[in-house]
Assembly symmetry: C2
Homo-oligomer: 371 residues x 2
């Protein structure tokens, strides 16, 4: 792959005087390589954006428990690549459980520090007859249709290690779920983080503010006004997040809750996709929930189009792993205040241009499917 | 392998009326399968005992950092199988670093709670010109000779998962170092622990008492009198130990510090091996240090000859992972007091018959080398 990149770079250099580089780039194999690690649920728009981006090559989707159990996330990932006609992209199942966190310890923690709003598959069924949390291996019927393809037999962390060894310094690791698979890959191979090109992740929370006046926005604000440092991806597996935060990544971009408060999925946005009439835009009509903030897709768009970022800061980031009130909380410092305990500088995205982001998202979602 | 076992069992049953079973067992392939996970240093006597035992098949030795860095442990493991003429046994390198623990956080912890006596490769060089702790990849010249063979290119945790899947419910996992590789294997494959036959490990500490009057015994007692719940294997990677303690192993035998206080390596014992004049007994003359308690070898002998155990209790065991004074401490409860947070019953060996143990150790060490 190194050879392919050198060749392509030379090719661009030779032709660049005569031909616009952008045109060449579309044809040449200089795609940006990405591995997606996700607790994918619904037709998560972030993998779809990366799969639709013309200059991006998705090397695989690894799954983890988080919002749903790992096996359900795997089914959603398989169904996503089926809808997009991209079953050439391997879906590799990863961690079922967090490294140390358990349902039982979460219950005890809640007895000391208060109820958690969302606990992924550990969330209690709503009063009124919900069937309850299924066991990890029970995959419900998916609202976007059940997959017919099968996942890889490899273990996600081993797959991540293998891919990064095969393409050193060339892969963006794009993570929008709990960090379990990533922490395992780092622990299996101490050179893993340094050999990734960059890490982009959705997770953590600094100081989110309600910025929209909708009832949905007010409901989400009721949660983070009391717990500005708590975010689910991290809270599901705080120890994995800490391992991630200490990794020697050449570059890290954090997309916390903060920039999401200025966004939400709307009926208007979904309606604007209808005219494309692809399997993707049709499925997005039912796969996304108007009123919810945009989360993972912000991370995808920050990577695909950095110009949408209107405010970002370089901060040192870590996560609390003590079993106190702050278990899983985001820790952040400016340089002068950092404890020097292994935490590293991350580019923290604090706000984005929603209009600009949605325009590009719309264009990507409406593109003809690649196959 | 399942088929081999069934056949062998039938073979034994058919012949048992005419021939003593013990004789048949030596010939038949009904060997006890074991995987050794070790921060091996010196010519650690435990792997040697298992490799010498006639009814045991060592499927591999996985290495981890602990007493020394992983690469040094790997070199010692390679040299051990070379000396024993058992280079058919794969040596598979594992974790270089603990999951979360770091040298820097250990220093801060010491600033709050006091100096740790032994920190493996993080131990400060003794005053007076020691060259200091080498970097993880620098392997010093070994006093038992440098290996000429090479380790496996597989990663230990992946190897452990692969072997246990190949021989479900048939492998004893024998662990005498920090639990990093084992925790990784459990996290990679949630069915790993349940598919092992049993886990036998040296680690943890309950309430050790000085039982020998030697100066060396007094020196070790000065350490554990103030920290009866602290033991290095666990303290190097407390989070991995907690993951291990929560695993669904069908059976767990813990060999903590406690039974070791009644033992020590003596010149007399080493002298008694000389007459065998094998590469093993010759190397043991310099590879072991008289005065030190016997540690890992007790675990090996408890598994090989359970009759040496003079006192054992079934206790529920866990390990403290909060960054307080008790970080890495052993937690133990009788049934009525356990917190039900995932801890499980373990058979905890509290004392052993030293004379009986040494007799069998001597016989095993003096056996002709297998190849």
């Amino acid at each position: 792959m190194a050879f392919r990149f050198v060749s392509a770079a030379c090719f661009v250099a030779l032709l660049s005087l005569a031909t616009p580089v952008a045109t060449v780039a579309k044809e040449a194999p200089t795609k940006r390589l990405v591995l997606i690690d996700d607790d994918i649920v619904g037709l998560n728009g972030a993998p779809a954006l990366l799969l639709q981006a013309p200059d991006v090559e998705v090397l695989g989707i690894t799954t983890t428990s988080g919002s749903v159990w790992r096996d359900t996330a795997t089914a959603y990932a398989l169904r996503t690549v089926e809808i997009l006609g991209r079953t050439d992209v391997p879906v590799v199942p990863g961690a079922t459980y967090p490294l140390l966190n358990t349902q039982e310890s979460t219950k005890r923690w809640e007895g000391l520090y208060g109820r958690l709003e969302f606990k992924g598959p550990w969330t209690e069924p709503a009063s009124g007859g919900s069937p309850g949390t299924p066991s990890p291996s029970v995959v419900p019927s998916l609202p976007i249709g059940d997959p017919v393809t099968k996942p890889s037999s490899e273990i996600a962390a081993a797959f991540l290690v293998r891919m990064v060894r095969a393409h050193p310094h060339q892969i963006t690791l794009f993570a929008t779920g709990p960090m379990t698979n990533i922490a395992l890959a780092q622990s299996l191979d101490p050179s893993f983080a340094a050999n990734v090109k960059e890490l982009v992740y959705m997770g953590g929370s600094l100081n989110p503010q309600q910025t929209l006046g909708t009832p949905a926005a007010a409901a989400f604000a009721r949660e983070f006004v009391n717990t500005p440092r708590r975010e689910f991806n991290i809270r599901w597996d705080p120890e994995a997040a800490r391992i991630m935060a200490h990794g020697a990544w050449p570059k890290v971009t954090m997309v916390p809750i903060d920039p999401s408060t200025g966004t939400q999925w709307t009926r208007g946005f979904l309606d604007s996709l209808r005219s494309a009439h692809t399997a993707l835009t049709d499925t997005l009509q039912t796969g996304l929930e108007p009123g919810f903030p945009i989360w993972d897709e912000i991370a995808a768009m920050v990577w695909l189009e950095p110009a949408i970022v209107t405010r970002a800061e370089t901060l040192y980031i870590d996560f609390d792993t003590n079993q106190t009130a702050g278990y899983g909380d985001t820790l952040s410092w400016h340089e002068a205040y950092r404890p020097h305990l292994g935490e590293r500088a991350q580019t923290v995205v604090l706000s984005i241009d929603r209009v600009k982001m949605e325009a590009t998202m719309r264009a990507l979602y409406k593109r003809p499917l690649k196959r």
